[in-house]
Symmetry: C4
Subunit: 268 residues, 4 copies
Amino acid sequence: MNERWKKKLYEIIYEADTKAGKWFDIGLLFLICFSIVLVMLESVASINVTYGDLFLILEWSVTILFTIEYILRIISIKRPLKYIFSFYGLIDFISTIPLYVSYFFAGSHVLIAFRALRLLRVFRVLKLVRFLGEASQLKEALKASRTKIVVFIYTVLIISVILGTIMYLIEGEESGFTSIPRSIYWTIVTLTTVGYGDIAPATNLGQFVASLIMILGYGIIAVPTGIVTIEFARQSNKVHLNTQICSNCQCDNHTDEAKFCYNCGEKL
Amino acid sequence: MNERWKKKLYEIIYEADTKAGKWFDIGLLFLICFSIVLVMLESVASINVTYGDLFLILEWSVTILFTIEYILRIISIKRPLKYIFSFYGLIDFISTIPLYVSYFFAGSHVLIAFRALRLLRVFRVLKLVRFLGEASQLKEALKASRTKIVVFIYTVLIISVILGTIMYLIEGEESGFTSIPRSIYWTIVTLTTVGYGDIAPATNLGQFVASLIMILGYGIIAVPTGIVTIEFARQSNKVHLNTQICSNCQCDNHTDEAKFCYNCGEKL
Amino acid sequence: MNERWKKKLYEIIYEADTKAGKWFDIGLLFLICFSIVLVMLESVASINVTYGDLFLILEWSVTILFTIEYILRIISIKRPLKYIFSFYGLIDFISTIPLYVSYFFAGSHVLIAFRALRLLRVFRVLKLVRFLGEASQLKEALKASRTKIVVFIYTVLIISVILGTIMYLIEGEESGFTSIPRSIYWTIVTLTTVGYGDIAPATNLGQFVASLIMILGYGIIAVPTGIVTIEFARQSNKVHLNTQICSNCQCDNHTDEAKFCYNCGEKL
Amino acid sequence: MNERWKKKLYEIIYEADTKAGKWFDIGLLFLICFSIVLVMLESVASINVTYGDLFLILEWSVTILFTIEYILRIISIKRPLKYIFSFYGLIDFISTIPLYVSYFFAGSHVLIAFRALRLLRVFRVLKLVRFLGEASQLKEALKASRTKIVVFIYTVLIISVILGTIMYLIEGEESGFTSIPRSIYWTIVTLTTVGYGDIAPATNLGQFVASLIMILGYGIIAVPTGIVTIEFARQSNKVHLNTQICSNCQCDNHTDEAKFCYNCGEKL
């Protein structure tokens, strides 16, 4: 295969500026979605019993198409190892290999479910077709509030460990608080207001402490909301500033309505 | 029936500017609410046993009134087909027909419950009597944040598929994660902090991953709140600006308290 | 009892400007709290068995004190009927009478629990001793957003009726959706992300629709938060404005940092 | 031990400016985390059976190290009593003593779980190494909104008592509402949207009132979020203001972009 073909393939597979590249991405997207729906239906016992043979054929078709795509990706790129050990490269490998391996190790077929990770590629594909202009604003806001959210989650975890331990001492094994990790799991279930009810306090003291934890969770849930809202507001305000540049002092970030530069008073 | 009557009927049924039109709308509203309460009570086995006969009579009365309304709507409008195949036209049809059909197909009586969809007409009626002035602001804000919310829901769904698949592999059938779709259902139940507890992780690893999902859900719930709050703030600020226009430079959006144009300094 | 005593009593019981009035209010507050704790403990079967006799004595003491208070309130006020049929007057009556009535009607003793309503008087008492300065800001914000919240709750209810009916048709009696009202109850449990799990969808379609409802609930929960936050922001900004009045044009609402009137340019 | 050694020890143990002090803090942090993981694993019955002996050895090692640390802390400080009866001093004592006491009182070994409280020291250590710069902003915001949140929690509690009592009267013992405190516990579980489902209304009226409580909880959850968001916004705005002081009028709080004093017009 000569260099020209390799370059052309690279453009189609890795880029999305050409028409062929766009169609390749969209086709891949559909194939991924199809393969995931396939895995889902296979996992439903009642459906698998009836259509098991059909599923096997489709499964092999998808696997072969994925194999071809994987080989083409390796061939067309200049440094194959970089792709192979990249995040998406590993996902592509993991979602292609299970069916082959299942010949040698019975039960490894279940690993096919990891194919769901390929859904992450959707974000890459969509980015290319510029569908998600709005998403970048969300992403920026979440990025900016990352440090605060980490501090917050950290605090929640420490609170969970302490309260979980206390509840373990109060409730004991009878009400399902069989160990401290399990008790911490219960605390997180309660603090986040999920509340499965698989474990629930039975003693009066336990229910009293649980009530306090819930009201605490009420206050705590307000924190990430507050953080994200403020970041959104900041991003949102940024959007209102235009990119006009003052001819006198070169400063930017003027509002849409401004007639004069806020910095030097020059007419815009 | 001559044209004058048709026009009069049209005004009463489809419009609400005349007194008769308003009364028709309010009467219809009560009839709809009454018919829905009827359907509800009928569905309660213990009540239906006692008052079954009364319910049948009332049901027929409502159906006949709905039939008359449906026929009048078709007669009075110029292009009946447009009404028949419109959203509200189909709902009207579906909520009128079940009792007639139940003579031929036993069991179709249950379709009468679709009558609940007629409640949507309430929004139309209320809009006419201008009760919901405040609602438009809410609606505008939700409309403006639509794109962001779609992106958000889309991301939540992808996360749910991936996490659901992982939990299916971890937990397996014993704890109720019998298939991937069911496992995804569990993930959505957890991420949205609903937490029924009909399916709950039983293994240590499963409970650990579930804790991570819950804390993730904590952060995720902040996103739509942030989006909607910002949009409300923007709508809210818009409301404070009046529609006065500067006589010198024709710019608008002055605040209520402004005495001078923010743009050219002209007295307002 | 002469007029002077009546006036003095009125000041003590109904007002809180004098020292005696304050002490009366605080004493009443403690008596109310004590009586409620009493009712609570009585309702716990295991405690009531042991301390039943003590509880009866304390219960009678509280009832007699409440009776005295009730009589004094009627005597000291100019228009007793206005008090008797006021909101607080009725609560006072209901929380005093059950023990007397229980002589004639066995079982009416349980009505003593209505005494919890007297806790509402706490708000009145606290208002008098000016402890809750901060609360008024909260109250103002909630009042201002009342219309929007009513519209919102109204919309949630209509959505619940429609979705509840649909789930009733999908799931049927086997999974606990035994009637439409019960199904609507389930929908509200789900939309508000409470999720008891006493009723949960069992069919695939039901779980799919439930997932949609949960994600909808996700978005819906953002709405009241947004409304309240904006109102708080508005109240909060109001607080930052001081009450200084321009000597030239008499306008107020200047910010704390302002040196010149925003209206006429006069130095403040 | 002479004074110089004492001073050196004090610097290492209580301060973190020197290199040795930092390493001591980090080492202590790891030891605390290790000891808590130990307690957690011990509480899991299946693991404790297998590794019981190993755990006992490790437990004693940790206890001895904690004992040494405790003694050093007392020796090196000028006023030992102040440390012993301080918050952290008591926690240190409680987390060191259980293993010794368990020789005399069987069962007291379980108190070792209180060691989780030592996790709180993490906050002190992290403060010293200046990792949590972002946290102070969160802390300030929560501090500023403290009064409002207390008023809010207070209101929630009163609402819970009243609604809990009403639900006790409606539902009775059959559906698990066995006493008023238990009924209040259920109300808090519902209002905070946790919803375990260990207690759930079974009667029609109970489910109706529960629905109202849930919708109320929907509105109530918006309040702390609003409060915290506004406080964050205020803190966030503060950050944008720099500490530059106008040379003419000495006022501060200028924005980063300001070139002229907002107060007197002097060039900054």
